[in-house]
Symmetry: C2
Subunit: 426 residues, 2 copies
């Protein structure tokens, strides 16, 4: 692998090199179980259900993982990537901090709380994990363009990863996106394309291009099965960083719902492989009241997700018709967890609470998750005596406007010691 992408059309499976996807053996429909060969496919031929990666892991040991690099490739034996993945140019995301959150635990009355902080990833969100896996797939498929529709974090991650890999990137965004978010993608790519329309319009255009053009890898469309597996690494890292143990409770934000389902899948794989002890754990999902389709279905006790029109400051969670919503419901119910929601004011308070207690500046999605954690404790849905993990998925520098009206200077003084003492700061 030398980082140069061959410009070919979507290949026949037979053109794939040996071991291109490591332990992955095929694609399998999550709904009907039908199988399909590995390729840039995302929907079942038979029932149009979502395809997932099927594996034959063989034996994987803790020692083997611990001997790997301090990034997600330490788990390459559990991902659809080749054995030489570390030598291909990528952003080397992951192995982010798991912080013992003593102050926040004390504030909320929890016995033991950890924050998994993904804001320190290369482009400052968990998206670097999934994009790294999508990039590997695009490389193996010989894709000539690495692309996505996005409003923020995903665009940053795709544009940056593609730049480093030396593959052409094309990133589609709604034309009314704020300038800072545009800059944070345009800095990496010459091909930031503004689309006159909302995110749904952009997304629809992306699907159309993926269907019409040869050799385009849209990370969250036609290589989505490979992409989504990257979120498993959050689960693997949490378990390893706890000393190869699972937590009792975990709180995860819900946009499409993919991350939550993949963390659950990761925990299941670790148990099946004997890498952690089998034990019960509860999975909780966090949504914003302005985009709460899964939380609503959970509370109503129904299986169907009714789509909503998003209206919340938590824009990275604003998916009104979440693809994996029904699987989130399943997992929350079967593990004894739940799905809860908080409003925009609570989200802002969540951001400030995490910053003031643990020194982490999270984006609105993280504010949502922390505020939901608080609400789960207050309403008795979460057991304060059990060990809990909360995931922070992104960085507050990307959503500054959400809190710029809430915090600021305490005082303005003249540059003299007298002014300092008069202000009563000491």
């Amino acid at each position: 692998m030398n980082g140069v992408f061959v410009s070919v059309t979507t290949p026949e499976t037979s053109t794939l090199r040996e071991g291109a996807f490591g332990p992955a053996t095929g694609l399998k429909c999550r709904e009907c179980g039908a199988t399909r060969e590995l390729g840039p496919h995302y929907a079942c031929y038979d029932c149009f259900g979502p395809l997932e990666i099927a594996y034959d892991f063989g034996t994987v040991t803790r020692e083997q993982i611990e001997a790997g690099p301090a990034n997600i490739w330490r788990y390459k034996a559990l991902l659809p990537v080749p054995d030489d993945i570390e030598s291909s140019p990528n952003l080397e995301p992951g192995f982010t901090r798991l912080l013992d959150a003593r102050n926040l635990a004390a504030e909320l009355g929890l016995a033991k709380l950890w924050v998994k902080d993904d804001s320190t990833n290369p482009t400052n969100s968990f998206k670097d994990r999934v994009v790294a896996c999508a990039l590997s797939a695009a490389r193996e498929f010989g894709s000539k363009v690495f692309a996505c529709p996005s409003t923020g974090n995903l665009a940053n991650a795709v544009a940056a990863a593609g730049a480093r890999a030396g593959i052409r990137t094309v990133v589609f965004i709604p034309s009314n996106l704020e300038t800072p978010k545009q800059v944070n993608s345009a800095i990496f790519t010459e091909n930031l394309i503004a689309v006159d329309g909302n995110y749904d319009d952009v997304n629809k255009l992306a699907s159309e291009i993926a269907g019409e053009e040869d050799g385009w890898a849209f990370v969250n469309v036609n290589v989505r099965p490979f992409y989504a597996e990257g979120s498993k690494t959050l689960g693997y890292e949490i378990a390893e960083q706890l000393g190869w143990r699972l937590p009792d409770q975990i709180v995860i934000p819900v946009a499409s719902g993919s991350q939550l389902t993949k963390v659950h899948k990761a925990f299941g794989e670790l148990i099946a492989l004997g890498l952690v002890e089998d034990k019960p754990y509860r999975v909780f999902g966090a949504q914003a009241t302005g985009c709460n389709p899964v939380a609503t279905a959970f509370k109503d006790g129904v299986d169907a997700i009714r789509p909503v029109r998003p209206d919340t400051i938590a824009k990275s969670l604003a998916i009104g018709n979440p693809a994996d919503g029904i699987y989130v419901l399943d997992i929350a119910r079967s593990t004894g967890g739940g799905v809860e929601e908080v409003d925009d004011e609570q989200i802002r308070e969540g951001i400030v609470l995490l910053a003031r207690t643990e020194g982490i500046f999270t984006e609105t999605a993280g504010g949502t998750t922390v505020a939901v954690l608080k609400k789960l404790v207050e309403t008795g849905q979460l057991d304060p005596e059990l060990e809990t993990v909360v995931i922070n998925t992104g960085h507050g520098l990307k959503t500054l406007d959400a809190v710029s009206g809430s915090v600021g200077a305490r005082a303005t003084i003249a540059p003299t010691y007298d002014a300092f003492t008069a202000a009563g700061i000491a």
Copy 2:
């Protein structure tokens, strides 16, 4: 250590606990060599020269370091911190990526280039390293307030680290600072104090408060000797991540000059301890033309640094009278390196170059360093055949304005496949 600070005045040395500063044995004047006991002191009694930490390292092995955590505390045996430092609440900075920069190397015609990327630290700059060491010192001294004068990165790091440690923070900034930079500190602390004046006024006020008030630890004033040692970890990590080797050439930004001198010190310590093989290496400093006192002295072949009034977009490098400038000159000259400068337009180009080649969005300081690297190659000062490391010290999200006029959307299109094909993007 439980994160609670005892509210006492600056203590007598006799009140310090056993092992409070690990291998550190005292303070030593860099100019006259006079020694002093460990304490919150920064200037020599005899000659007013800067004080540095003196150590007795004993034996330190690679295995001992490699068994440590994936943060700066893996090097605790080489820092003025206690052996139980990992158990005290801190931001756990460091062990950031060392990226094999193949694209940038090819662009510049270099045989081998690495980027040490400190933009992924907890508050997105190398300042988290130095602040973590200052925090440990403040804790051991029983300081009641953790403080700094700053215009940006340092304020973020102090406010965040103090929040997590549970110590009161007070951060002083010029009152005309941009709102985003204020938010990025105010999110962590109730005590962001705006001062009517420029940075020099703020700095002077901080020194006055440090002298008048008991128990205030100003990280870059009275605990500076401990604080500055944190930059050594950049040097340790580069060597370890290269497989316990030193590079042939290294390019480092110069503000006060402290970071460059400490990386050099780190390399020397590793050689002395037998952790890496002794070999020659060249150290290069990077400055902005709008604040170039050290680069000017280097070119003029003089020993004295003539202070300048800064006027550059690289605000985190804008120190007109750099405290360690003379030591930077010494090191650049004695190692066969140099000190070079670039103007604001070259800095902007450096930011875009690093982003487009390696997927790293750097702040203006990093743009300066990359642009200087380019200039050093072009002018033949740097040998393109030798293995080179360049340090990126901070994140572009903090200095968005520097490039928001330079990059943007390539096209704006209607949300249709026809519009897409008509735009010639495929």
